[in-house]
């Protein structure tokens, strides 16, 4: 599948229908997710702030997932010199930064009433902040170098180095004493949260995933068109 889509023509033909389809799937999942999230009862400890969880947790998942996509695409770009992989990496960065920002802001809005603080230098929060800075650094590095090939290579190396932060984010709540609650969904023995909260959370998580998929494909398409435009402008200038 990946090999087939590495061809830009095949990718453009595939994403032409796959991107809107993913967008439609995202709407079909997020709407009932929001509905069930607001219909869910109050949590016995968190009260109604539990509703922030339905947007905070999927944003945090997508922050990590999008960095994984950025790292994977950077690997293929650096090792196999796939132009489309570089376009996909470039397209993933702003989306990842946006989801990470959402995770930080919504987490802060949950933390203030529950922990009594907008921010603490906790291992989980700090590693997510580092993730956000990595996305910003990736974008800044690409913009700072005029030669696109050199910029792509430097940014890909940064993205690959930054991959080390993903397990730190994931296991920070296990490795250090953390104010942030431990893993309650993707854990051995199954999720520990009540079904009434798990269903809207799962719908929102899947909806965010499809939304990222749709936006990522569309941004990669835009990047392919941008490169085609630059190539055509060079051709036109040479005539």
């Amino acid at each position: 599948m990946l090999t087939a889509l590495a061809n830009p023509h095949r990718f453009m033909a595939f994403s032409r229908w796959a991107a809107p389809l993913c967008g439609a799937a995202a709407v079909l999942l997020i709407v009932p997710g929001l509905w069930l999230g607001f219909a869910a009862p109050e949590d016995y400890q968190q009260g109604t702030t539990v509703r922030i969880m339905f947007i905070h947790v999927p944003a945090a998942w997508m922050a990590m997932f999008s960095y994984g996509c950025l790292g994977g695409a950077s690997f293929f770009s650096l090792v196999f010199r796939h132009a489309l992989a570089d376009a996909a990496a470039r397209a993933a960065a702003p989306l990842g930064a946006a989801f990470t920002l959402l995770a930080l802001v919504t987490g802060s809005l949950w933390g203030r009433p529950m922990w009594g603080a907008w921010w603490v230098w906790d291992a989980r929060l700090t590693s997510v902040l580092v993730l956000f800075l990595l996305f910003l650094g990736y974008m800044a590095l690409r913009s700072a170098i005029d030669d696109e090939t050199k910029a792509a290579r430097a940014a890909a190396i940064l993205a690959l180095v930054g991959l080390i932060n993903l397990p730190v984010v994931k296991f920070s709540v296990d490795w250090w004493n953390s104010l942030h609650q431990g893993e309650s969904i993707f854990r051995a023995g199954g999720p520990t949260i009540a079904t009434v909260f798990l269903i809207p959370l799962a719908l929102m998580g899947a909806g965010y995933m499809f939304a990222f998929g749709a936006l990522w494909m569309e941004r990669t398409r835009a990047e392919v068109w941008r490169r085609r435009t630059l190539a055509l402008e060079v051709q036109a200038a040479g005539r």
């Binding site: 009260g47 702030t49 922030i52 920002l101 802001v105 949950w110 936006l215 435009t229």
Partner: protein, 53 residues
Amino acid sequence: MNLDLLLHDKYAAFIVPAYAVSALVFVWMIADTWLRARHWRRRAEQLEKDRKA
């Protein structure tokens, strides 16, 4: 939970901004992606047309 109950909830000052920020960021992601794709597709198509002409 209806909207009135949500707005009068004691945690409304935290829940409403969280959803508002999420909505804004989604609007930005969708608008920026769509406008960017449309801009570069049109430019590429125009240059293709000029080249063939």
